[in-house]
């Protein structure tokens, strides 16, 4: 438990690399990067998000169209994913976004010989089964919310949010350079790797403190009971169907985040990154530091 009280970034112990033969003047340093509670919250989110996203797609499949406002005008969806029969009689999957039609046969709208919006491999459970999808979704929504509230309270209380996640003015000025670095996959090394770079901070702070609250609140706005208790939810999100649309967009923001996050974890030292999220300790390589 003492781990909880230690501050994550500055504590460092310099350990000379045992055999600094191949590259001269390289030392590796182990820093305590992720505190215990953060690590637990992180790993709880993995099954939560996996299940919430896929059971959410199961629920979406029950009425695979999105709208703005409070009601579903079926002739005016913002997005719909449906099977359609062509003139020759064969079934196709058609995704319509803002009136534009795309043939998405095989993945969206029609897959594996079945008319269904998202394919079986993307939903929990895999068969079309709304009742079970809702049970998965509403159970893990509780786990996700409790986990999120715990994390948010802790990171505000321990200054993890302010110190490590909230970009500073100096950080913001480095956005153009950071974008360039990321595009050529040049990753921070040495002292720069001790802390999150500005794009990392924006991604983490944005997903944790903007997208996650939005996805929870829009989920609650879809509850007719919650709407009676907090009618302002309908106002701020533009109606129940608008809330459903925002919930869907927030879901795919999570999907996008996860894809980039996992790719970056792999690109910047998979075992060091995974190890640090398990044990807390992260290895930084220092070049050109003379003993």
């Amino acid at each position: 438990m003492s781990n909880l009280m230690e501050s994550p970034m500055p504590m460092a112990e310099a350990v000379p690399s045992p055999e600094p033969i191949t590259v001269p003047h390289v030392t590796t340093e182990r820093i305590y990067r992720h505190r215990l509670l953060v690590r637990i919250c992180h790993w709880l989110n993995v099954p939560c998000l996996f299940i919430l996203i896929m059971s959410g797609l199961q629920i979406f499949n029950a009425h695979p169209a999105l709208y703005w406002g409070d009601r579903s005008d079926r002739d005016k969806p913002l997005l719909s994913i449906r099977p359609m029969r062509t003139d020759s009689g064969e079934l196709k999957g058609v995704t319509t976004i803002l009136g534009r039609r795309f043939d998405t046969t095989g993945v969206l709208g029609y897959s594996n010989g079945m008319g269904r919006a998202f394919p079986a491999w993307a939903t929990v459970p895999s068969a079309r089964w709304l009742a079970a999808g809702r049970q998965w979704h509403l159970f893990f929504a509780w786990v996700f919310v409790i986990n999120g509230v715990l994390f948010a309270a802790y990171s505000l209380y321990s200054h993890h949010f302010k110190k490590d996640l909230l970009p500073t003015g100096q950080d913001l000025k480095q956005i153009p350079q950071a974008v360039k670095d990321h595009l050529v996959l040049r990753h921070p090394k040495g002292d720069e790797a001790r802390r999150y770079n500005v794009l990392q901070k924006l991604a983490y702070a944005g997903i944790l403190f903007v997208v996650a609250p939005v996805i929870v609140l829009t989920g609650l706005t879809m509850s007719p009971t919650i709407d009676t208790a907090f009618p302002w939810l309908l106002t701020i999100f533009g109606g129940r169907q608008a809330a459903r649309t925002i919930h869907f967009i927030a879901c795919f923001s999570f999907v996008g985040f996860i894809v980039i996050h996992v790719a970056q974890v792999m690109l910047t030292g998979f075992f060091n990154n995974i190890g640090s999220m398990i044990t807390g300790w992260f290895t930084v390589q220092q070049e050109g530091v003379k003993p």
Binding site: D73, P125, Q135, I226
Partner: protein, 250 residues
């Protein structure tokens, strides 16, 4: 590069195993029971933060859906019902019985003469869509008060005239406390016209704080009970017996 390929394959395989695992758990005898525990938590939490008389949003005429979809059973399909429909439901009665002091029976005509409430509200289907309609009907609380429920009555069970293809009768239930909510009505009009058959003629429930499958159609009998056991498959409703939540507040 080989390592990256290995990692990708590992992640892919893990996802497939996890998916298959979810399917197995869904089919198991014990796991859905754990998932369903969330329902009690949701119900308790929502009850705790929602004032008893918090009202569902009421909309304007301009907000009414051009087309209000009819879902579930759209025609009871029995000869009895067809005969009733033929005579404009002149012989339709609703009885209120079970755990009440004074069992009552109302004809449709008598219900239409009672003080009515009209509300333009949003119907939220469990599938995800919403439609807005103008409902007119008699507050259910008025009917219940006349029948004087006994203190032991916990649920109102709505017995309906519709049966599905397999002959299973539709029924629904709600907490007695919810029956007294001002917007809980037995509706006989939709958008200024008598209810049509697909929307539940001649009488259907409007319970504006919960999802569409709670809004029972073709209501013939309201039975007050202490427990839902022994009715249908015991879960409190036609859809509940098929795995949907009894508490349909979300």
């Amino acid at each position: 590069m080989a390592r990256r390929g290995f990692l990708k394959a590992t992640v892919g395989a893990a996802s497939l195993v996890a998916l298959a695992g979810c399917d197995n758990l869904t089919q198991s005898s014990w796991f859905p029971g754990i998932l369903q525990k969330a329902q009690g938590l949701t119900e308790t939490a929502q009850w705790a933060i929602t004032p008893a008389n918090a009202m569902a949003k009421e909309y304007n005429e301009a907000d009414i859906s051009a087309l209000f979809p009819a879902n579930g059973n759209t025609d009871p399909g029995t000869q009895d019902y067809a005969d009733m429909a033929q005579s404009n439901f002149a012989g339709w009665d609703v009885s209120i019985d079970g755990l009440v002091k004074t069992p009552m029976s109302y004809s449709l005509a008598a219900i239409k003469e009672m003080p009515a409430r009209t509300q333009i509200t949003r119907h939220d289907c469990v599938e995800g869509w919403s439609a807005i309609g103008k409902w007119t009907g008699v507050p259910l609380g008025d009917l219940l008060r006349a029948a004087e429920p006994l203190p032991t009555a916990k649920y109102a069970v709505f017995h309906c005239a519709d049966v599905d293809e397999e002959g299973i009768a539709y029924y629904e239930s709600m907490a007695v406390a919810d029956c007294y909510h001002p917007q809980t009505i037995l509706a006989y009009e939709l958008n200024g016209l008598p209810l049509d058959v697909p929307h539940g003629a001649p009488l259907r429930l409007r319970f504006e704080r919960q999802l569409g499958y709670k809004q029972a159609k073709y209501i013939q009998r309201i039975e007050l009970v202490e427990s839902l056991e022994g009715i249908g498959m015991g879960k409190g409703g036609y859809w509940e017996d098929q795995g949907y939540e009894w508490y349909a507040g979300i």
